[in-house]
Symmetry: C2
Subunit: 133 residues, 2 copies
DNA sequence: CTTGCATCTGTAGTCACTACAGATGGTAGA
DNA sequence: TCTACCATCTGTAGTGACTACAGATGCAAG
């Protein structure tokens, strides 16, 4: 019944797809609590796996680690503050959309330049000329 | 007729929209050559302005500084190697498209979660639950 | 017995800046 | 003349989120 911490860091890494170095890094900066040790070795339980999986999923959505910290607190403390969570998600969505708009612009310009470059121009490379203005 | 280096770093910054600290940083890492000095003060000429503008434009397309270095060399040395330039641009375009695809996925998930969160759920925050799996 | 594996600690490197602290020199106003 | 302000200078450290190493330790299998 007890969580029985038996999972070594390598297996945690495999289970979550998170680099071992990254796991230790998360511990160092307080995203993950220091786990039980047997001798020098970290051992994790299922709660540890769940916590790291949570972090990974939040990171995959682009939430910065500071926000992940807050999300973890809210997830722990019961979800009374759905409003706050939604606000953070909306902020993150706005970030993502802004970055996507940037990338769209870059892709459009790059696409044009690659095309112009392909249409073998006499004299100079149109891409370099575009950058030189 | 001589380039007559009279532009101080502050004006170069204004002309190119590039932060002063960034200009000095570019100099330190060899992206920009060390300019003429009058006393301790850097003075730039129009060639310096053009070079930095080139760098800025390349950076706006997301080219990493190492690639910008190469582009500068190619732009200087006459544009014999349009092929190489096009290859770099294609690589960069692929990067941009891949990142955009990532952001699309994030935006889709975040959009769904924000929406679910908005539809006031009884019990728990659907967003936190989704992260907790 | 030694080879290999997993783990450990601690530090430094990545990328592209950005932010200071503290010094210097010149001009302009009171 | 004093002082306030401005731009510039050098050098170092901080950012975010890792990643990469060096070098030690301990255990089990061949």
């Amino acid at each position: 019944m007890a969580p029985s911490s038996t999972i070594p860091i390598g297996e945690l890494s495999r289970l979550t797809g998170c680099n071992i170095e990254t796991i230790r890094y998360y511990e160092r900066i307080g995203i993950l609590p220091a786990p039980v040790r047997y001798g020098r070795f970290r051992r994790y339980d299922s709660a540890g796996v769940r916590r790291l999986a949570f972090v990974r999923r939040a990171r995959e959505l682009g939430f910065p680690l500071d926000t992940v910290r807050t999300l973890l607190l809210l997830a722990e403390g019961g979800s009374h503050s759905c409003d706050q969570v939604r606000q953070m998600a909306e902020g993150q969505l706005a970030e993502v959309l802004a970055k996507r708009a940037d990338l769209d612009r870059m892709a459009a310009v790059l696409g044009d330049l690659v095309e112009a470059c392909g249409a073998g121009d006499a004299g100079g490379c149109p891409l370099l000329e575009a950058l030189s203005d």
